[in-house]
């Protein structure tokens, strides 16, 4: 499935798609197969049981969270490439939660400080009780399906939200 030969995930790999940053740097990627319906249903059960605020959007394993955010749900991209994509696509960090708009990205880090997950913001409502923001996001959880959820409400294995980014242009 994953590329086996020279330059796996690269331009010549039939298991990948041509994908590049806006500066034309190629982004290695792999197209993953579908997991069995039984495996995906178990994954959904694990994600939703006891979490009424989470909603399933799509149950597929063909892309990962980064492929969802940067490649229109067509492929899987290793998290190590996220800093490169953010830099070359000129994403800017959003300092204030209140400034987050639908379409902006949430980047999660694991305990080692590496990128572990990416989510796309879909709404941002002020939280009148705490004075903070209720940010809802959409994200693919590994190969376990795509969910709508609060940006902080993810399984521990996906890490913790650390930064918000946007590629919005205001010129």
């Amino acid at each position: 499935m994953a590329g086996m030969l020279i330059n796996p995930g690269g331009e010549s790999d039939r298991e990948s798609i041509r994908l590049a940053t806006s500066k034309n740097t190629l982004i290695p990627n792999f197209r993953r197969g579908e997991r069995t319906p039984a495996a995906l249903k178990e994954a959904m059960k694990l994600a939703l049981d006891g979490h009424p605020d989470r909603r399933l959007r799509s149950l597929t394993s063909k892309y990962n969270c980064i492929g969802m955010a940067f490649a229109n749900r067509r492929t899987c991209i290793e998290p190590d490439y996220v800093p490169l994509i953010l830099r070359e696509d000129e994403y800017e960090e959003i300092a204030l939660y209140a400034d987050v708009l639908p379409g902006d990205l949430v980047i999660y880090h694991d305990a080692y400080g590496d990128v572990s997950h990416v989510a796309v913001a879909v709404s941002n409502e002020p939280d009148l009780t705490s004075g903070g923001s209720n940010i809802r996001v959409l994200s693919q959880w590994g190969s376990d399906g795509e969910y709508l959820h609060d940006y902080r409400d993810v399984p521990p294995f996906l890490g913790k939200p650390v930064k918000f980014y946007s590629e919005r242009r205001r010129a």
Binding site: M1, L5, S12, L46, N64, D80, F157
Partner: protein, 222 residues
């Protein structure tokens, strides 16, 4: 918990769902190392005869028939077993299990791990023994190992000395192998050039039908 019980849980859909939360291979490895069932497996693997049982299970699961339209349901389990063997078993057993796992169909995490273990077996000379016992290692793994050598990823003199052995397995002369290394992903593809030509022809047809290029020219003239 007994070894059989732990192995049963590792082969369960729930374990697969938990470790498949990983977005990438590094995260997968970290989730695996922190998973309680994997830790239990690692502890039990230290008991006498346990690594042989795990290796046997790898060989058994790797040979199972899989539905070609879906991923192998034992992918996560195979990866967990190989990782446990990597940390606890002798090189010969690791090579035997990883070569069997390399042949498992439709896996996502297992090929990278089994390849890594085969490279290690190659570097330590275990591959020579596996060859002597007639162990079957998929051609693409040898090809990748060889390409790693070409690219200097495995460039120690001991590894370079294994090159002849790999070429022997592939049934390739030096010249032919060198030519193929310059044409990535051509192994096992009877006519890659024809396929590429057809792809480009199809793209040209799409462009001409949609008038993309003509439209662009008109825009320039206007």
């Amino acid at each position: 918990m007994e070894l059989q019980e732990v192995m049963q849980k590792i082969e369960d859909h729930r374990f697969s769902a938990e470790v498949n939360l990983a977005a990438g291979s590094k995260a997968f490895s970290r989730i695996l190392q922190n998973h309680e069932m994997f830790r239990a497996l690692l502890e039990l693997a230290k008991e006498p005869g346990a690594v042989e049982t795990i290796a046997k299970r790898v060989i058994d699961l790797s040979g199972r028939q899989v539905d070609p339209q879906y991923e192998n349901v034992f992918d996560a389990a195979l990866s967990a077993y190989l990782t446990a063997l990597r940390d606890t078993a002798k090189p010969e057993l690791i090579a035997e299990a990883s070569s069997a796992a390399a042949a498992a169909r439709n896996c996502w995490w297992t090929p990278g791990l089994s390849r890594e273990l085969l490279v290690r077996a190659l570097a330590t000379g275990v591959v020579a023994q596996t060859a002597a016992t007639g162990m079957k290692i998929p051609q693409e793994h040898f090809t990748k190992i060889w390409s790693d050598m070409v690219n200097g990823l495995a460039s120690s003199s001991a590894q370079r000395n294994q090159k002849t052995q790999i070429l022997f397995h592939l049934g390739l002369s030096n010249k032919k192998a060198a030519t193929q290394s310059l044409m990535p992903n051509n192994f096992g593809n009877p006519s890659p050039n024809r396929r590429q030509r057809e792809k480009h022809r199809d793209l040209r047809a799409i462009h001409s039908k949609s008038g993309v290029r003509r439209g662009a020219r008109r825009l320039v003239h206007a």
